[in-house]
């Protein structure tokens, strides 16, 4: 190894690289004024060459490291001291650069001694046994994975291996990768075990099938019992908007929990669907027979719970429900209770860890994903024709929502690169296809594939002989033999928000995912990007824009607590309590959307029976009480503000609702009265017990301005009025080229014709006039 250059020599090299040598004699002036350019250039040739040389010298001398020349997408965290984070072709240069750097290559750590060494050795033994078990196609049992000493775990593994050795006829799993179907029939499915080495770190928060891929490239978040990709580590706000406008973006949504409900009797099957969907009298036939999916609200106990995806197929007698993970338990138990009332045989399968999904959005969603989905031969050529037409056209909202296709595909890893689906003479135009899809002339569901996807045994069979990437490249010469061996059943359906959802067996998500990321048009997003796209298309996102649902309410409160804690830590000199909203007298919290305060004020004003003007004119004076001290007489605005503060302390016989607002429902008597202004508030208890009806709105400013989350919505631009609603998501909208917002406002603004609202950000004094439309 060459000796390390001294720091001075290195500096000298750097300085030398910056000096440019020049030639002083200049005979190119023929006359005194005229410059002959060819002569001039010729005389300067030496200088130009040395200038170019110096540029190269600077480049090679030092100042930039090899990973700095990489495109953004190939850059990794801490690549400066870990060569493994640099592409292989550049590694040798990176190592050379590290040797030359001041700190040199990091020293190898001395190996552990004593107890630490023993622990490592035992761990190694455990892992060796673990991989042996995997090779024998066994799954480590619960005892091995339990929290106990390593020695006991090794003992358990040994006994398991011995018992497997005795009887090798029926291995537990049918492939070398450790894939198996993990469904809970009428019970909760156990968490996926994962690799023995990484078992501990996925015990509390389940890894998605693509976790390792994402962990290298994304900020991850631990939510709802999963580790979910939040956003790419690279800056991508504008880039993502462009991809969503022109290309395609994919999301791993395997954390959306899936349930399969089996109901043996047809009448019960339809009855169940009528109870949980928005249809109350007659179900559209295409939803019952599985031609279309239902992507809308789920109703349980006659209440809107959440927006879900439901796919029902009466011939299979199965209903697939995909819900957001935070609502899973609630929905699971409610459905289970509902099913108990049916006389026919019913089963509820927990498919949280046996069905995964990938969401694709953007106009090129299907053209892009079709490059890696190679269809397994189909009996019904209509499906193929539909798929080809969809794959050859961009979809900018033309294809009807709920359009569903189901087919089987071959393992995409057998194709070295994405390939475009060849067109055929029998293809129809997109317009004709859309009309046909709307009229439901034919179903695009392959009955075998959908049956395979919805059955636990068939899903397990699909993993039979699943190959690793290594074995695929080894046996690549047997391409034609091998490609027909794999058969992945999948379902692809269009969701209400305009994206497509691909539902497939859990352990097939990763192969599809990795192949999909190689398609040029496809970029990858996380939870934040989902929120961004929805916001840019004025679609509310769960839970942020749904404070009238439990999860949204909790999210809003959590935001409030965190911002308040952050504010409390600020230095006194940084706090300006003279700002609006932050004044001590303010009864509406400046840290969150304080719905309870708004509800109290609106209902208390109604209770007082006085107009705003009357309340404002009256002098506060002393507080007077009606009856006991808990009920204050409402004579002035001050009385209302003070009472609003004390409402939470008022005793009520029934439990007051946890959420202070409710989304407007036209069939609710109180809501109707509220909008007409004919409602009655009888007492302070009434204020506490009633929920304020609100409507969800999309807001656009009339002039320039800015909107941020939690901004207040007013009906006049005066500081003397109270807010009538809040902005739940507000930011600059790249689709519109101006700030927009999604928010909620009291429902009686419906009655006003074309009202102007005013937006004021928290702690700011400017009111921005804006227009709004109701989101239904």
């Amino acid at each position: 190894m060459p000796p390390k250059p001294s720091i001075n020599a290195k500096k000298a090299k750097l300085y030398n690289s910056r000096t440019i040598r020049t030639e002083l004699s200049d005979p190119s002036f023929t006359d005194k004024e005229k410059l002959s350019i060819p002569d001039f250039l010729k005389t300067r040739e030496f200088e130009i060459r040395s200038f170019e040389q110096s540029q190269l010298n600077t480049k090679y001398a030092s100042s930039s490291r090899v990973f700095q020349s990489l495109p953004r997408t190939l850059r990794r965290r801490t690549a400066s001291h870990n060569v493994k984070r640099i592409p292989k072709r550049l590694r040798s240069r990176a190592i050379r650069e590290m040797q030359n750097s001041v700190n040199g290559q990091p020293e190898k750590r001395k190996h552990q001694r004593g107890r630490q060494l023993y622990r490592l050795q035992v761990m190694k033994k455990l892992l060796k046994l673990g991989s042996r078990l995997k090779l024998m196609r066994g799954v480590p049992n619960e005892q091995v994975l339990k929290d106990q000493t390593i020695r006991n775990r090794i003992k358990e593994l040994n006994t398991q291996i011995k018992s497997l050795e005795k009887d090798r006829s029926s291995p537990e799993i049918n492939n070398d990768l450790g894939s198996y179907d993990n469904t809970g029939v009428d019970e909760f499915a156990p968490r996926p075990k994962g690799n023995l080495k990484y078992h501990k770190r996925q015990k509390n928060f389940v890894w998605l099938p693509t976790h390792v891929w994402h962990a290298k490239r994304f900020h991850m978040t631990k939510q709802y019992g999963y580790q979910i990709p939040l956003a790419p580590t690279q800056k991508c706000f504008k880039a993502m908007n462009r991809h969503n406008k022109h290309d395609a973006v994919i999301f791993d949504t395997s954390f959306h929990d899936k349930l399969i409900i089996e109901i043996a009797d047809n009448a019960d099957f339809i009855q169940f669907l009528l109870e949980i969907t928005k249809y109350k009298k007659k179900l559209p036939t295409e939803i019952v027979d599985g031609t279309k999916s239902y992507s809308d609200w789920i109703f349980l106990e006659n209440e809107k719970v959440a927006k879900v995806l439901i796919y029902a197929n009466i011939s299979l007698k199965k209903i697939l429900v995909s819900v957001l993970p935070s609502l899973f338990m609630d929905i699971y138990f409610k459905i289970k209770a509902k099913l108990a009332n049916y006389k026919s045989n019913t089963t509820i399968n927990d498919c949280r860890y046996s069905l995964g999904s990938i969401d694709i959005c953007g106009p090129q969603a299907l053209p892009a994903i079709s490059k890696i989905l190679h269809l397994y031969k189909l009996e019904n050529s209509d499906i193929q024709r539909t798929w080809r037409t969809l794959a050859h056209n961009t979809d900018s909202g033309l294809v009807p929502i709920g359009t569903t296709l189901s087919f089987s595909v071959k393992d995409p890893r057998f194709w070295k690169r994405p390939s475009r689906l060849p067109p055929s003479a029998s293809d129809i135009s997109l317009n004709e296809l859309v009309i046909a899809l709307n009229n439901e002339t034919s179903s695009n569901i392959d009955s075998d594939s959908i049956a395979n996807l919805l059955s636990s045994r068939s899903r397990n069979e699909s993993y039979d002989g699943q190959m690793s990437i290594k074995s695929i490249s080894k046996e690549f010469n047997k391409f034609y033999e091998l490609i027909n061996r794999s058969r992945i059943p999948l379902l692809i359906t269009k969701l209400a928000e305009g994206s497509w959802s691909l539902i497939l067996p859990w352990y097939w998500v990763l192969p599809i995912w990795i192949s999909a990321t190689k398609v040029r048009q496809i970029k990858v997003g996380g939870l934040k990007q989902r929120h961004q796209f929805n916001f840019e298309n004025e679609i509310p996102t769960f839970p942020y824009d749904f404070p009238f649902l439990r999860d949204g309410w909790l999210h809003n409160n959590a935001v409030g607590t965190l911002t308040e804690a952050k504010f409390a830590k600020l230095k006194q000199s940084h706090v300006d309590i003279s700002r609006p909203d932050f004044q001590n007298s303010s009864i509406i919290s400046p840290f969150k959307c304080d719905w309870t305060a708004i509800r109290n004020i609106i209902f208390l004003k109604k209770l007082s029976g006085k107009t705003d003007l009357e309340l404002a004119q009256l002098d506060p004076g002393f507080a007077t009480h009606v009856g006991n001290f808990s009920t204050r007489e409402l004579k002035s605005l001050h009385d209302i503000e003070q009472s609003s503060k004390s409402i939470s302390k008022i005793y009520t016989e029934e439990k007051a609702p946890e959420i202070s607002i409710v989304i407007y429902c036209k069939n609710n008597e109180f809501h109707k009265q509220f909008v007409d202004g004919a409602y009655e508030i009888k007492s302070l208890v009434d204020v506490k017990m009633k929920q304020l009806p609100v409507i969800q709105i999309a807001i656009r400013l009339q002039n320039k301005g800015s909107i941020s989350d939690g901004a207040r919505i007013f009906l006049s631009d005066s500081f003397n009025t109270n807010p009538e609603g809040f902005v739940t998501s507000g930011a600059y909208n790249l689709n519109e080229g101006q700030p927009t917002a999604i928010g909620l406002i009291r429902a009686d603004v419906k009655k006003l014709s074309n009202p102007t609202i005013y937006i004021r950000n928290i702690g700011k004094t400017t009111f921005y006039p804006a227009k709004f439309v109701e989101i239904k």
Binding site: H246, K278, Y279, K280, K281, K282, Q364, P367, H392, N393, T394, D395, S396, G397, L398, P400, S429, L430, N431, V434, I435, N438, C665, K666, N667, K776
Partner: protein, 150 residues
């Protein structure tokens, strides 16, 4: 037979218009096509089209990218407008005619209209909407503005 008799009647209900473009554009298409809408401001369109033209002009744009490879065979850029925007598109054509050779092509293009018809309230909570689709032919005009390389 006059064209008017073939015209379909409008269905009562909320009318959602969809883009007539559903083919996947190539990279060159994306860079050399300008679509004129009724809402496109005239001067803004002039500036945007000029920018596309300048991209291929060696004097203005020194980048070699637009002179070789796939771009070498490129002769013209396309400006399209349909329906109400035809007039604006043609006036853009006359603006560029003074400096560039402009060809004008006319034709018609098929679009799909979506109608959301409110049916008698089936569900208790929300009105049931039925979606109907109808094809419609719309006239369009295409300008081919010949590019100048130098």
């Amino acid at each position: 037979m006059s064209l008017k008799s073939a015209k379909t009647s409008r269905i009562n209900g909320k009318h959602i218009k969809h883009s007539a473009n559903s083919t996947i554009p190539s990279n060159i298409d994306k860079e050399t096509t300008f679509l004129v809408k009724t809402k496109t401001p005239y001067v803004s369109a002039v500036k945007q089209i000029q920018r596309i033209l300048d991209k291929f002009n060696k004097k203005v744009n020194k980048k070699r990218k637009f002179q070789g490879g796939e771009y070498k065979k490129l002769n013209y850029i396309t400006v399209k407008g349909m329906g109400k925007a035809i007039e604006k598109t043609l006036s853009l054509g006359t603006h560029f005619q003074s400096n560039y050779p402009v060809e004008v092509l006319t034709g018609s293009v098929e679009v799909l209209d979506e109608f959301r018809v409110n049916e008698a309230s089936d569900s208790e909570d929300e009105d049931e909407e039925k979606t109907l689709y109808q094809k419609r032919m719309v006239s369009y005009v295409e300008l081919r503005i010949r590019i100048r390389r130098d």
